[in-house]
């Protein structure tokens, strides 16, 4: 695959899925007992992406279809990064490269999840509103609210896991995560309205 000059390059999603696949492969070696889980983590996104690229976005594409493909590429990149973060941390802990107590491991994984939400929220608005969208202003405003909710919740979640007492951290993080859940519901309902 080569970068094309008419849309989002496939290199970032390709690099991201390859990195995630490599981490998942290392986890298979590290924990063969859970191999199906790690294999699933490694092949799920590349498979979905491959199917979409070859079936839905093959051949000459209209501008609208090309933009849809670009949105898929952005989503694959973000999803891979979100998957790679906890995979990398799990690998560090299970391989013994980093030794830490259970509490520290929990905090690190929780904070990584929060960071993943921040990354997703931050980049989700980089895809422009659809061409000839009938309510572009509303769509843009909705996307901004949605993205800001994810960024704030991600920061709150990471902060809760890093700073709150370990017995309370999951509860606080869970409560904070109600914010993006509400944002998703808001986006779904307002899209129908």
């Amino acid at each position: 695959m080569t970068a094309d000059d008419t849309g989002r390059s496939p290199l970032p999603p390709l690099s991201a899925v390859l990195a995630t696949g490599a981490l998942a492969g290392l986890m298979v070696v590290e924990e063969p007992g859970s191999a199906p889980l790690w294999v699933l983590a490694g092949v799920m996104l590349p498979t979905a992406w491959l199917i979409l690229e070859t079936v839905a976005f093959a051949g000459d594409l209209s501008i609208k279809r090309r933009e849809a493909r670009d949105r898929v590429r952005l989503a694959i990149t973000i999803a891979s990064v979100m998957l790679a973060l906890p995979l990398a941390l799990t690998l560090l802990f299970t391989s013994g490269m980093v030794t830490a107590s259970d509490a520290v491991e929990q905090r690190a994984l929780g904070a990584a999840f929060g960071l993943g939400l921040v990354i997703y929220g931050n980049w989700s608005t980089k895809a422009p509103v659809e061409l000839d969208a009938p309510d572009a202003a509303r769509q843009q405003a909705r996307a901004r609210v949605f993205a800001a909710a994810f960024v704030l919740a991600g920061l709150g979640c990471a902060l809760a896991w890093l700073a709150a007492p370990i017995s309370l951290a999951p509860w606080i993080a869970g409560a904070v995560l109600a914010l993006p859940a509400a944002a998703v519901a808001f986006k779904a309902f307002s899209a129908k309205a």
Partner: protein, 100 residues
């Protein structure tokens, strides 16, 4: 990232982004909203596009601009506006209540 700071440092470019936050606009519509020449506006559009803050799509004879701000870039835009980086924010026809 430096291209983003460069793009946000100019009040005209910030105003363009604020207009695009409302809705996608053509190059002509945006240029008409400012009291500067079209070549100057084209240069501003080029800087914004280079920084990845806007998307430019040709539609027939016109170019449609759409905003592409991440949450962080949106926050930087807010800070830049709040601290008044560069000269005063230029008035647009929209601000002056001119419907043309």
């Amino acid at each position: 990232m430096s291209s983003v700071f460069k793009a946000l440092a100019d009040p005209t470019r910030r105003r363009v982004l604020e207009l695009l936050r409302d809705r996608p606009m053509t190059a002509g519509e945006l240029s008409d909203a400012f009291e500067v020449s079209r070549p100057t506006m084209s240069a501003h559009f080029a800087v914004l596009k280079e920084a990845g803050l806007v998307d430019a799509t040709r539609q027939g004879k016109s170019i449609l601009y759409r905003i592409k701000l991440s949450v962080l870039e949106d926050a930087l835009l807010g800070f830049a506006r709040g601290f008044g980086l560069g000269a005063d924010t230029p008035k647009t026809d929209k601000d002056k209540g001119d419907p043309s």
